[in-house]
Symmetry: C2
Subunit: 352 residues, 2 copies
Amino acid sequence: MTPRKKQSSAPSPHAVSMADLARELGVSMTTVSRALSDHHSIGAATKQRVLKLAKKLNYQPNHLAAALRKGQSRLLGVVVPYIEGKFFPSVIQGIEQAASKAGFSVIVCQSHEDVQLERRNVETLLHAQVAGVLVSLARNTLEFHHFDKVRERGIPLVFFDRIPASEFVNSVVLDDRAGGFAATNHLLEQGCRRVAHLAGPQHLNIYRQRQQGYLDALAAHGLEPQQELIIYSDMTQEEGAQATRQLLTLANPIDGIFGAGDSVILGALQTLKGQGIRVPRDIALAGFSNEGFTAITEPRLTSVDQRCEEMGEAAVRLFLELAAAPEAQFQQRQVVLQPELFIRESSLQAVG
Amino acid sequence: MTPRKKQSSAPSPHAVSMADLARELGVSMTTVSRALSDHHSIGAATKQRVLKLAKKLNYQPNHLAAALRKGQSRLLGVVVPYIEGKFFPSVIQGIEQAASKAGFSVIVCQSHEDVQLERRNVETLLHAQVAGVLVSLARNTLEFHHFDKVRERGIPLVFFDRIPASEFVNSVVLDDRAGGFAATNHLLEQGCRRVAHLAGPQHLNIYRQRQQGYLDALAAHGLEPQQELIIYSDMTQEEGAQATRQLLTLANPIDGIFGAGDSVILGALQTLKGQGIRVPRDIALAGFSNEGFTAITEPRLTSVDQRCEEMGEAAVRLFLELAAAPEAQFQQRQVVLQPELFIRESSLQAVG
DNA sequence: TTGTACGCGTTATCAG
DNA sequence: CTGATAACGCGTACAA
């Protein structure tokens, strides 16, 4: 009815702005802004007055407005394939902590292993005006044009774990090759002579590297790699079971399996037990990811830990560096973390 | 060097705004705005021209500015205790899908079971100017003043799963009591006569309800509840093991255990197997949450499924209703979902 | 149907 | 050290 009528002292129901503080104190908005952002040229007394009133009126800064003005928000966008299991939640945990320390909030989107959704996620994040984008690729992402927009806008872009194949990007990865080596080497040191490998999709860097580590270990022990011992799949539990059945038909029997994931090894374990084959005595097992369930199975599963939290932290650190030096983002910068092998009963040959 | 010099036609490197489109087309910003938001009073021809140029110049709407203008963003804030395990990821999945359908993006924050962090999360979300807040409480949240600010700002607030004890709030919950009943009743029907209960912290609604369901089932079978059969803990695997050891010392032996969570039952299972007690023949087991690992253990664990995705969807629906009718948010509105019992070997008495 | 002008809450620039 | 003023990009009464 009387839209223009100035409410004298009753604060507007939603939100109290810098203007309100300024009016109340009889100073300018500039002064208020400076007091709140701890600018150097501000009287100590004035500053205190402002801060006090701000607390009293429960002033909440409108970050949207600040972001609009500065063309930069304090939001960090993260795109991951999924958040089930142990790996991604833990990485996100690392991201959140490091981001929070630097004053950033985190938005998480899931691509559900679908490029289409990944594309939309990137759009969403750009719409939200994020200050940076952290991505782990969907399984079927083979083309990367949807990330061009991010770069074009000058927004720092960091890939982690699953990174583009042959692109000039900034990234944080685990030394998957070293992990594959450690696991396979361990099996060989336990006395295995014919170790099979349940490999993942080879267009993903991580699975290529894990296989490479497997091959390295064989070579280090003077063994020839054999076609029939390497089985490719999407590494589900089901596929692990199937692959294992296939391996059991070989004339020359195997005595160890290194899987590029834990689920695939879980499938293997269940199949072996179902057939009365003893683990690790007959066939020893080692997986990758150190999932929670590796400590539940019987026997418990040996697995490679991926330093999840560290990866998240490293990704944020890299983002912060890129944000500080905008022109640096066209460089290729790669952080490599060292994995750690967790040895459990599935791979330990009884002593004596 | 020449900061004020107007670049004639070269678009500014970052972002192309409505003003750019308007200038290029020789129309006003209003027209552009209307064309883009599909306003009714806009010439079809003009609209096409605008849309075409927008696509050509790769115009990206600045949602921040829109949000600032309208005092409302299209962001939905979610606070959960953690994202490990199955439950919360699945709920979030449900939230994301429903939110996306309604044109909202989702920010997820973890409280890590810490009220302090939960408080900060709420602040963060308010700073991000979210349009709504969806919360599942931290384990040690006993006071709820940090949510007052949300209400004061007129932002829809929906609790799910772990909700405040005696507060007038809008919420989505599972019928935990029915779940507790179903699981316990099933054990009793399988022939158990002395069923113990591994209970959770009673200040959390969900665990109170599950215990209530346990008691209901006992009563339905004409059994008296007994103090010594109910053991309270935080329901970790470790505590499940410990509680089980304690139960095994009872003079009058038990023949079944219903746990308010799956981890606690996992601990029980391992302890029982370690002591050579057969499951389910000697003692039958049933848990709650239908975690992934319930299908891995030997025997596999009977458990109550929580309809995670549905819960997420329901929470978003409730949010949308509140957003549509702002005055309704002080009502108490509760959506209750029905659980489903997944029966596996841990509770099945061999026939004959 | 289209255009003008203002304000959302903040910060940067410049002048005092 | 402080204040006035102009943006940031968008939506919307109001006028044409």
